[in-house]
């Protein structure tokens, strides 16, 4: 499998992996992939103004999936929920130069983001 420079860069040195400890303003999402061992767990800390202050993830999947998580967190950190809502798999895929066969990785990460943001929107 050939990976783009962008994917390898984020896969080799991810900065944001890890859990955010449970608290009121942490919104969590868990999306499982094709097999039981494949998952993305996303944690977003969103303040009263709707700004994403901290973000973290755990992921078990291929290098593309790991890079997608890292890229998504990079994109949403410091942005408002409204801005984060418009981030989709195509944006992640084009930033990371993901091959068509691996688009499902970007979709899985978009789903995780959608679920976490929905949890926030439902609560606020």
């Amino acid at each position: 499998m050939e990976y783009s420079k962008q994917i390898l860069g984020l896969f080799d040195e991810p900065k944001y992996m890890g859990i955010l400890p449970f608290s009121d303003n942490i919104y969590q999402a868990e999306i499982f992939g094709s097999s039981s061992s494949n998952f993305v767990k996303l944690y977003l800390q969103i303040d009263n103004l709707g700004i994403i202050r901290r973000a973290g993830y755990l992921v078990n999947g291929c290098p593309v999936l790991i890079a997608c998580c890292e890229m998504m967190v990079k994109l949403v950190l410091g942005t408002s929920v409204n801005d984060a809502k418009v981030i989709d798999y195509l944006e992640i895929a084009s930033l990371l130069k993901i091959a068509d066969l691996k688009l499902h990785c970007a979709i899985q990460v978009e789903e995780a983001l959608y679920v976490a943001l929905t949890k926030y929107l439902e609560k606020s």
Binding site: M1, Y3, F11, G18, S34, S35, N38, N60, G61, P63
Partner: protein
């Protein structure tokens, strides 16, 4: 082009050519006097045939056969095809039942499947135990009056286990059934004695034993004689069993490689054992590593593991400074893991994350130490990303 080559740990896929083999082959690609068609009657042809005769002697000495029991093919795949299709075409009036094993190479399983699909053969596919080894009783139970062929590999290419070929050979002989053995992985790792194993047919490959890619051989027993129908039709070369001009240079390479394999077997094995222990000492201390295949009946140069909590493709990518092999490539979401691992009941997620590390004659201790360091580092790093913990919390 400046490529930083990774450490080569994929010896079960192919081995580098030994320089002594290259040396032996080179004249046949350079010298203007020994290029002749070995089947020609003039001196150019005779020179080539002399070289082939010598190579046959070298191979025969390595496997304890006679030189006239060896037929050259393009590799073990062709040898397997010739053995399976050729023998069943000849003996089909005696019966149309074949016995094989679920962990065989595709070059055995596919021709057999073809016989089932196209020529109305029936097949019993033996399921090996969780250690990858065949229970001899299962073969006994599968034998019927219709059985004409048992095809079992000697050393498994993925998990490195050694099947009880001698026992199967005895059983086949007692029942008047031909045993075909795919021994592509055996040369240079185990002593091969076709007589002791009572094999009727045995397939070999040169490039798994420090010889060139593109040449292999099939051992066809003379006494009691095993007969085949040819699969490659043409000029009637090689007793009419496999037509086509023999590639003198490649055959010389195979002969030399097999001669070296026999000579260097003790040193090669001692080295493989040492490296095996070094790797196992480290890997067995890391929690959540599952070793595939019997830990006793196996060749020392192969380690097949799954690492819990890490995706196989991620592990392979993290280990890209090592040239190793994996069953996993999640190209589509439905990609299955290795069929060999599934056949020995390795759960799907672990089968998908399995990696095979295989080393050999030219692997250095320094490379093994580097491999150990990299494995430790990357397993720890990726498990941090997936949040995996040995206690499962």
């Amino acid at each position: 082009m400046n490529i930083n080559f990774p450490i080569y740990l994929d010896y079960m896929s192919s081995t580098p050519i030994d320089s002594k083999v290259t040396e032996a082959m080179l004249p046949y690609f350079q010298d203007q006097k020994i290029f002749g068609n070995p089947h020609s009657q003039h001196v150019y042809g005779k020179k080539s045939m002399e070289a082939i005769t010598k190579a046959k002697l070298q191979i025969a000495a390595c496997i304890n056969s006679t030189p006239d029991e060896i037929i050259f093919t393009s590799g073990a795949t062709e040898a397997n095809n010739l053995a399976i299709k050729g023998s069943t075409q000849f003996y089909h009036r005696k019966g149309k039942h074949i016995i094989t094993c679920a962990t065989e190479h595709k070059a055995v399983l596919e021709p057999i499947q073809w016989l089932v699909d196209v020529h109305d053969f029936s097949v019993t596919v033996i399921k090996p135990g969780k250690d990858g080894l065949i229970n001899i009783q299962d073969i006994k139970n599968a034998i019927s009056t219709q059985t004409i062929l048992i095809s079992i590999m000697h050393v498994n290419n993925e998990i490195g286990v050694i099947q009880p070929i001698e026992e199967i050979g005895k059983l086949a002989e007692a029942n008047g059934i031909i045993m075909h053995v795919d021994a592509a992985q055996s040369i240079g790792k185990l002593k091969i004695d076709v007589k002791k194993m009572q094999a009727g047919l045995m397939s070999f490959s040169a490039h798994k034993a420090y010889g060139p890619i593109g040449i292999g051989a099939l051992y066809i027993r003379k006494s009691p004689r095993v007969r085949l129908v040819e699969c490659m039709h043409g000029g009637g070369q090689q007793l009419g069993l496999r037509a086509g001009t023999l590639p003198t240079g490649l055959i010389v390479g195979m002969g030399k490689a097999f001669e070296l394999a026999k000579q260097q077997l003790p040193q090669d094995n001692a080295k493989a054992l040492e490296f095996n222990r070094l790797l196992l000492n480290t890997l067995s201390n890391i929690p959540g590593i599952i070793f595939h295949g019997s830990n006793k009946m196996r060749v020392p140069n192969n380690i097949n593991i799954s690492v819990e909590g890490i995706d196989g493709e991620a592990l392979l990518c993290a280990l890209r400074r090592l040239a190793i092999s994996t069953a996993s490539a999640c190209v589509t979401t439905t990609q299955d893991g290795s069929y060999v691992l599934r056949a020995i009941d390795v759960p799907d997620n672990l089968a998908k994350s399995a990696i095979r590390i295989s080393f050999g004659r030219f692997t250095t201790k320094d490379e093994i130490y580097k491999t150990i360091e990299l494995l430790k580092k990357e397993i720890y790093r990726l498990r941090n990303i997936s949040g995996w913990r040995a206690d499962g919390i």
